[in-house]
């Protein structure tokens, strides 16, 4: 299959007012052996409240795509529209603002600030963005089962607990888009499932878009849609 989605797909998503729209994204990495292309014209849309799973083998560029969408890196070519803002045109300063206020990120590991407690970590991005809401944070804390752990430091928590805190931090700011890069990659199956359930519940509750990169077909099946990244291009499934 080729580049863009079918006309029907396009129509459906367009009707739902896409919060995120990506077109023709290209990115390559330079090595001493020459430039290695990772993305070769990727495009898709994501509506508010919808969830999309990005699958593909290790090294296929899932993380790269996520980083580009999350305004963490620059594309070589293509456009990214997030909530009507054209990310590629924004200055460094403006992009930082977008990251602060509109995007929540959960990485595979090393998410939290090691010198802050769980509570402080939870509220950090919200405070940065000036959107701290203690009631919402309390609810998140409760729903994520973190209440007894609120005074602990990240190094005292297990991997699953840390990821839960990361999700709480990302959602505390009420982002438009939640990005997750292999969030359960370091967890065992049971913990991973629990984390996913919590994440999906909260995403549904907040109505933000959810974009997750994973190599697990099982996890990918739990999201609304799936696309596969192969040789730098997207193939819908």
């Amino acid at each position: 299959m080729s580049i863009h989605a079918t006309p029907e797909h396009l129509e459906a998503t367009w009707k739902a007012a896409p919060m995120l729209r990506v077109e023709g994204l290209c990115k390559s990495y330079s090595t001493p052996q020459g430039a290695i292309p990772v993305l070769r014209g990727v495009g898709f849309t994501l509506a508010a409240g919808a969830s999309l799973a990005l699958t593909g083998e290790s090294g296929s560029g899932k993380s790269t795509l996520l980083h580009l969408v999350g305004a963490l890196d620059d594309a070589d070519a293509g456009e990214i529209f997030l909530d009507d803002a054209r990310l590629t045109l924004l200055s460094e300063h403006a992009r930082a603002a977008v990251r602060r206020e509109k995007i929540g990120v959960v990485f595979q590991q090393f998410n939290l600030i090691p010198s802050l407690t769980v509570t402080e970590n939870l509220g950090f991005q919200a405070r940065l963005a000036g959107r701290y809401d203690s009631a919402w944070q309390d609810e998140l804390t409760h729903r994520l089962g973190l209440t007894e752990l609120s005074g602990r430091y990240p190094e005292e928590l297990s991997g699953g607990q840390q990821q839960r805190v990361a999700i709480g931090r990302a959602l505390a700011v009420r982002p438009k888009l939640l990005l997750a890069d292999e969030p359960t990659g370091n967890l065992d199956e049971a913990s991973g499932d629990k984390v996913m359930t919590l994440a999906l519940d909260l995403v549904a509750a907040t109505g933000c878009g959810f974009l997750m990169a994973t190599h697990s077909e099982r996890l990918a099946a739990r999201l609304q849609r799936r696309v596969r990244l192969e040789s730098g291009l997207l193939a819908p499934q």
């Binding site: 460094e92 977008v98 990251r99 602060r100 998410n111 010198s115 950090f124 940065l128 190094e155 297990s158």
Partner: protein
């Protein structure tokens, strides 16, 4: 800016978890600032005292007239000038002793004293006049001076010449170490009737140099208001030495700060990345880091400045004694500093903190919000690091060479030493890496190979601390070598110079004549050697002139660096002189040259027939024939003598003389006591230097300790794999200890030639430029051994705690390394 504040909060939270790291950072900056500001305080206090001494009389900004040749002039010059309408006020200054303490007697004339004079300011001049004229008069002294002399108000002490002072009264504006009296009283106390040392020009008088020249001819010389006081110029090199040391200590302290801050930065790198990922813009990040540095500066700098005050207060008595003995300068013994000193200390701390944190700021600015995990990239990084170090070391070496080529000045000497130290320090990690690579290649057993290989990873973390250690060790060897060499030379020289068994000073020339007559009849006294003194100026500097009679004592003992073959006959038969080493250097003259010496009446031209060493004398000195001294200098002192006596008769003769001539002898001392006093002065001078040098060593030891402590977590991560493969923790910890001590040993070995080089620089360039005399270059191998052992001890003590922690690390901690939950 909310963003910046929360970023700052996240940054500061790091210290909450690692208080030890913070303590190191603060302590490092505080100690560096303390040493620097302490030295600055000493220098500032001394400068204030020099200025205060002149300003107390004339009120800063006044110009004075002094004798063109230096010394005293007749007071009828004052009368003549006033009769010609020149508004001047007479001053007479001289030194006297009360008990065993030297004080300055300052005689002023209150009626003509300038209005701006602080003495006239506090008490109206009419009141001062009344004080001087009523009853037995008055002597004004600062309260601390009276305390130092142990005298109360109204006391009337006696000088060494047996003259009684008028009743003392406290006056805070009086200069330190001085007693202010009426000018007539001063003339009497100093036994200088009709003589003046200065004329102060009243500040609102229009300058009329024409008139002064017409009246006084060439007898007087105008000294402008902003001319550096004589004292300040003489003591310049002393203070420069202090400053150089303070700067060195500051630099070493900065190493600690850099190390601590750099390590903290590395540990916070993930946090910084997360912050960026969460949407903190780079400028905000840097601003937050800058705020952190600012707070650090205020806290650590403030503590440092207070510490500096304490250091200065502790060292001040020694410095004051040295200055008094060497230069006759009186400085106040209680520190009184102004806000400017405090602020400059903080500025220095801030500059140091910024310098140390600068590389961190640069990295933070360019930090991408992503970490692309490349775990073993450290090798490439390490190579880059070594190359950079080598390049910088080379640059520093080039700078040192340029400094050497650029001249003979004091600044270039210090620059050369500084650049060489820096070059060696920068090169040390490269040398260590090379040694470790060699070791790795030669080692067979796996643990041994790991020992060397892993050591290279440790270098970059410890490099700053080791560089600091190297510099401190080299400085210790360098300065210690110079001091010890000086001590040996000085002792030998003193033995030769103090050839007479008794030295005494009569109260007046008439008394001297009486004593001389008596001495000639004593069988015990085999030789009477008058050593009369006079003063003059050659070029811009004051010069002492000492007379010598033709006696075999001199030919046998007097040390000469260079001499014409017929030196002693020429000295007494012709117009010939001996010049001191520093005078020769300053005037650029050598053996056989002819110099013009201004005498009382003319300029006497004499040939140089010998150059003698004159250690510790800031002024130039000439030695001439005794008869010529009497003839050419009518203001020669006429009261100083040396006596040759059989050594067992010394005590008896002194006793006799004291009993017989009680009031006529101002001072009498025997050779061993005089040697003791001189050596004491020497020791005190270098006590300060030695103290600073030791402090620097301690500071570098602390740097090593701090670095090891903060590295210990990273070390755990490196040790874990080896432990998992079967080595015991005890063994691994022991290897760590050995490694650190090996590093320190290498540093000590590198420090030795560096220290020797530093000694040579100090002896051949710095000392010559600063003081004018050159010391022979000595080496002291025993000192190297001591320094080597000190380095090992320092390393051992510094590594003890971190290594112990490693040895007792719980297995769970080590295992966490693998589970990625760290």
């Amino acid at each position: 800016m909310k963003q910046t504040l929360w970023t700052l909060a996240a940054l500061l939270s790091h210290w909450r978890r690692r208080p030890g790291n913070l303590a190191t950072l603060v302590a490092g900056l505080a100690v560096a600032t303390a040493l620097w500001s302490g030295v600055q305080a000493l220098n500032a206090q001394a400068r204030m005292s020099y200025d205060a001494a002149t300003a107390a009389i004339s009120g800063g900004g006044a110009r004075t007239l002094v004798a063109a040749r230096g010394g005293l002039f007749d007071q009828d010059l004052f009368v003549k000038l006033r009769r010609a309408g020149v508004d001047v006020s007479p001053v007479l200054e001289g030194a006297a002793r009360i008990g065993d303490k030297t004080i300055r007697i300052i005689g002023v004339e209150p009626v003509s004293l300038p209005r701006a004079s602080p003495i006239a300011h506090k008490r109206k001049r009419a009141d001062v006049l009344e004080d001087f004229f009523s009853g037995e008069g008055r002597g004004f002294a600062a309260p601390q001076t009276m305390r130092r002399l142990g005298l109360a108000e109204g006391a009337q002490p006696q000088t060494e010449r047996g003259r009684r002072l008028p009743p003392l009264a406290a006056l805070a504006e009086a200069p330190p170490g001085a007693i202010v009296v009426d000018i007539g009283v001063a003339q009497r106390l100093l036994d200088r009737p009709g003589a003046l040392s200065r004329l102060v020009i009243a500040d609102d008088a229009a300058p009329d140099d024409e008139r002064v020249k017409r009246v006084a001819g060439e007898a007087l010389r105008l000294v402008a208001a902003d001319d550096e006081s004589e004292l300040a110029r003489l003591t310049d090199s002393f203070h420069l030495n202090l400053t150089a040391f303070g700067f060195l200590a500051f630099l070493v302290g900065l190493f600690i700060v850099h190390a601590a801050y750099g390590l903290a930065f590395e540990q916070r790198l993930p946090t910084l990345r997360t912050l960026r990922a969460l949407g903190v813009a780079p400028p905000n990040l840097v601003v937050a880091m800058a705020c952190e540095v600012a707070v650090l500066t205020l806290v650590a700098g403030g503590a440092g400045v207070i510490g500096g005050y304490a250091i200065a207060q502790a060292l001040l008595p020694d410095v004051a004694k040295s200055l008094e003995s060497l230069y006759g300068a009186q400085i106040s013994e209680s520190l009184s500093l102004d806000l400017r000193w405090f602020l400059s200390g903080l500025v220095m701390a801030g500059a140091g903190a910024v310098l140390a944190a600068a590389s961190g700021f640069a990295k933070a600015l360019r930090l991408p919000p992503l970490s692309v995990a490349r775990p073993i990239a450290w090798r490439a990084e390490h190579h880059r690091y070594l190359r950079r170090q080598a390049a910088l070391a080379f640059l520093a070496l080039v700078a040192a060479a340029c400094a050497y080529g650029s001249g003979e000045g004091l600044a270039s000497g210090f620059a050369m030493i500084g650049c060489s130290l820096l070059a060696a320090a920068l090169f040390l990690p490269v040398a260590l890496a090379g040694a470790l690579a060699l070791g790795e290649r030669l080692a067979r057993r796996p643990l041994a190979r790991w020992f060397f290989a892993d050591g290279r990873q440790e270098i970059s973390g410890l490099s700053l601390a080791l560089m600091a250690l190297l510099i401190a060790l080299a400085a210790n060897i360098g300065v210690g070598g110079m001091v010890e060499g000086f001590r040996q030379t000085f002792t030998r020289w003193l033995d030769a110079r103090l050839a007479a068994e008794i030295y005494f000073e009569a109260a007046t020339p008439a008394d001297a004549r009486d004593i001389e007559a008596w001495m000639r009849m004593q069988k015990d006294i085999s030789a009477i050697l008058p050593v009369w003194r006079a003063k003059t100026r050659i070029g811009e500097g004051p010069v002492e002139i000492v007379g010598m009679t033709p006696h075999e004592t001199y030919a046998a003992h007097f040390p000469l660096l260079e001499a014409a073959p017929d030196v002693w006959t020429a000295l007494h038969a012709e117009d010939a002189v001996l010049v001191s080493e520093q005078l020769a250097r300053r005037r650029g003259v050598g053996l056989g040259a002819v110099i013009g010496i201004p005498t009382s009446t003319q300029v006497w031209r004499a040939r140089i027939v010998g150059i003698f060493p004159d250690y510790g004398n800031p002024k130039g000195q000439l030695r001439i024939d005794h008869e010529r001294l009497k003839r050419y200098f009518d203001d020669a002192s006429g009261v100083h003598y040396g006596l040759r006596i059989a050594s067992d008769a010394t005590a008896r003769v002194i006793d006799n003389m004291q009993r017989r001539f009680d009031g006529k002898i101002a001072r009498i001392i025997d050779q061993s006591e005089l040697k003791g006093l001189s050596t004491d002065v020497f020791e005190r001078t270098f006590a300060v230097t030695t103290a600073l040098s030791t402090l620097t060593l301690v500071v570098s030891g602390v740097a090593l300790f701090a670095s090891l402590l903060t590295l210990s977590d990273m070390r755990q991560a490196r040790i874990a794999p080896v432990w998992a493969l079967g080595a015991t923790r005890r063994k691994l910890a022991g290897l760590e200890l050995m490694r650190v001590m090996a590093f320190a040993a290498v540093a000590a070995i590198c420090a030795t030639p560096l220290g020797l080089f530093m000694t040579w620089c100090l002896v051949a360039i710095v000392n010559v430029a600063a003081f004018g005399w050159r010391l022979p270059f000595h080496v002291f191998p025993s000192q190297w051994l001591v320094v080597f052992l000190i380095a090992l001890c320092a390393a051992f003590l510094a590594a003890l705690v971190p290594v112990a922690r490693l040895a007792r690390a719980a297995p769970t901690d080590l295992l966490k390394v693998f589970s990625n939950e760290r």
